[in-house]
Subunit: 247 residues, 4 copies
């Protein structure tokens, strides 16, 4: 079977696996599970990991040119082979964004907005989980409840950064770094979308000084073509008469 078919069929299972993983992980972290419950959650998480692993191997096997696909998916490799690095495991959640991609509306700007909003919410949620997981048990850490973690993540992605909470472990700071980059991206996309919208609106308002469009140029082209036609007609009658008179 081809890679296309595999990917088509694998999409939903992967999405569900990502959701299951996220739920299990959230449950484990927020409830700070111990004993049986903890083991259950962990095993669910590992089960989802197996699914991603299988998908990666299958893709590699079915890829028309393996080496090319491999080189183009180093990131997926990291996600799959380094599940030991707990924060990295969360990258699986990115699979969920593909859903957003589909569900999004037609107009480009709308799509961008939906996508960014979804990605930001997911990022904030995942980052708070991961930071709580990483920092909770650290000495002199101040992020110890999910509420605080969520608050910290929001304060960080908006680049406000009160500093009432901040990660102290390396893992926590790595996650924070990702969150800050997310914040810059968020700010950038919001501004850029607004700019493109305002530029458009301003143009629409002052109708006459509106930018010339492809459509208008096409109209022009067509008009001139007709002109050409008439001219050719005239030329023909000319020459025909020319011959008759010449005779």
């Amino acid at each position: 079977m081809t890679q296309q078919r595999w990917q088509k069929n694998a999409e939903w299972p992967l999405t569900i696996a990502a959701i299951v993983f996220l739920v299990a992980y959230a449950w484990e972290v927020i409830a700070d599970l111990e004993g049986v419950a903890g083991v259950t959650a962990e095993s669910i998480i590992w089960a989802t990991w197996v699914i991603f692993m299988v998908d990666y191997v299958a893709n590699l096997a079915l890829a028309p040119q393996r080496w090319g696909w491999f080189r183009g998916h180093i990131f997926d490799l990291l996600v799959v082979v380094l599940p030991v690095l707990r924060p990295l495991r969360l990258l699986r959640v990115i699979t969920l964004l593909t859903v957003l991609k589909r569900t999004a509306g037609a107009a480009f700007r709308e799509r961008v907005v939906v996508y960014v909003a979804g990605a930001s919410i997911l990022l904030v949620f995942v980052a708070s989980l991961a930071v709580l997981d990483a920092d909770r048990s650290a000495p002199n850490s101040n992020i110890t409840t999910f509420g605080d973690a969520l608050w910290w993540a929001f304060v960080t992605i908006t680049t406000v950064g009160y500093g009432d909470f901040s990660p102290v472990t390396d893992a926590g700071r790595l996650i924070a770094g990702g969150l800050m980059l997310g914040g810059i991206a968020l700010l950038g996309v919001v501004t850029a979308t607004l700019a493109s919208w305002i530029v458009e609106r301003v143009a629409q308002q002052e109708e006459d000084s509106r930018v010339a469009t492809h459509g208008e140029i096409r109209a022009l082209v067509q008009q001139i073509a007709e002109l050409q036609a008439t001219l050719d007609a005239t030329a023909k009658t000319e020459s025909s008469r020319a011959s008759t008179t010449g005779h």
Copy 2:
């Protein structure tokens, strides 16, 4: 009577109700009212709530297709049916923005600026009230006077975030979240408006490399039309003479 007429007539009463509500709420919170005064303020606030309630019901009753209107105004519903959540009550103030919309000038960019400036000031003012209301009495809260709340709100909406003050209650943090999003929007609109303005100015300056406008294209079209006319004329004289000579 139609929904349009209702909305037209209801606009001013609602605006006034929103102002009265805001004043009463500000008075109650800033003065930290007790006893009779407190009861008075509360009853005024509830009175304004009744007005909004009536408006919502009337709209629902007069809407041509009820279900459609209902689905399109979930937000209004929340504002009306959840006044118990004190912060949510403040959303009524949004009514005031409709006034801004009208009073604003003609040019699109000017309108955006006026609107955003007004919305930001309102947001800062309302958020400081709400945070003070939520956090004042909380243990180990550091926002205890309106001055501090105002300062905190300003530091937050500009995304500076010193952290000398920050909310500790869930309600307070919810409000802070709204304020931060407002800050990102503010930053975005300011930048976007400036961008659209600079792009325009740059274009105007280098007259010759200015973008071609709708107006210019229209001129072209007209010019070519005349050309066509002359050509048709020539063609006619041609053919007429063709016949005479043919004769």
Copy 3:
């Protein structure tokens, strides 16, 4: 004499007065002057105030329609009549920006950059002076040296906001507010200028899909005009011959 002439002649004296004022103020604040030196600095500051006062009155007197000019210069009025509010005195420095306006280069974007850079530096410098002046003597204030004030101002205008220093007096917070707005403006202008520049560069690169310019349209118009001319010529020879043959 006309208002134009007055303003032309007054420009340099005002600029110098603003510089003198700034130097005297900086000297007074940084050195925390007492006794004779303090009195000297204060009197210099008041002297400069007189100059601004005179300029305002003269403008009002010479204005073609007084009321219109008055309404359009409320801000200048505040600067002049409220020198008691120490922070407000600093607004005189705005006069210096007019110099920047002149010295700036031709191209619009370059001018914007020079102007914003100059304004930001001035803002940071003035704000640190004012905050130091306002907070130094306040209880539990942490801005006590000019170095700290400068550092604080820079951290604030870039919206980083560590919170290691922050004003505690109302005057100080007022100044901080101005500085934060300055920061948002700074961020906005930098981004907007970059955007307009990148959009331009991208367009230049892909020559063919470059936006159609005014210049190109002008060329087109001219080309069609020539076409029209040739056509008219043909038409004339036509008709003339038509008459000859008709004869």
Copy 4:
């Protein structure tokens, strides 16, 4: 030999010198070298300085008009003649950006992105080294390990600014200032690039209302030229026949 040839030949040696310098400096600072190791690192750093010095002198000597080149390279002068100011020494690293310039792809936006990403990473790395170097030994400084310095630099360039770490020495704050400006530039470029991209995508989508391009106008011009040609042909046959009939 000409300046061009010198610069062409000097480019790689300078790049390597910058890398060697950076490595030696990083090694010295991170490992907080003492004794022999410290002396070794220092001497390597001075050796690289000599290379930059030689390059500067050679450029000055080979420049067609010395004075012009000198005036246009004050910055290089500072880098070379003030190596005593330890932070300034780091400016040599800027040489590395020239490599980025070359390695970057074709499309303008891609190039901008690569360039900015590279510059930011370099800036963060260098700034953390410099701040650690400057603040480590200062009393009541809180940046004492490279990990903390890196974290601080990242928190600063993203303008989040928790304030859990912040420099206390003048040198450290100078570096921080540069980092903050870098942050504003970063934010600006990200947003601007996104804006230019979104504007383009939106335009592409709504094909018909796409902006008229240079290419389309060129097509038009050509079309009209052909029209002119036909017309001239007609005119010629006209006149020729005119003469024959006239005969």
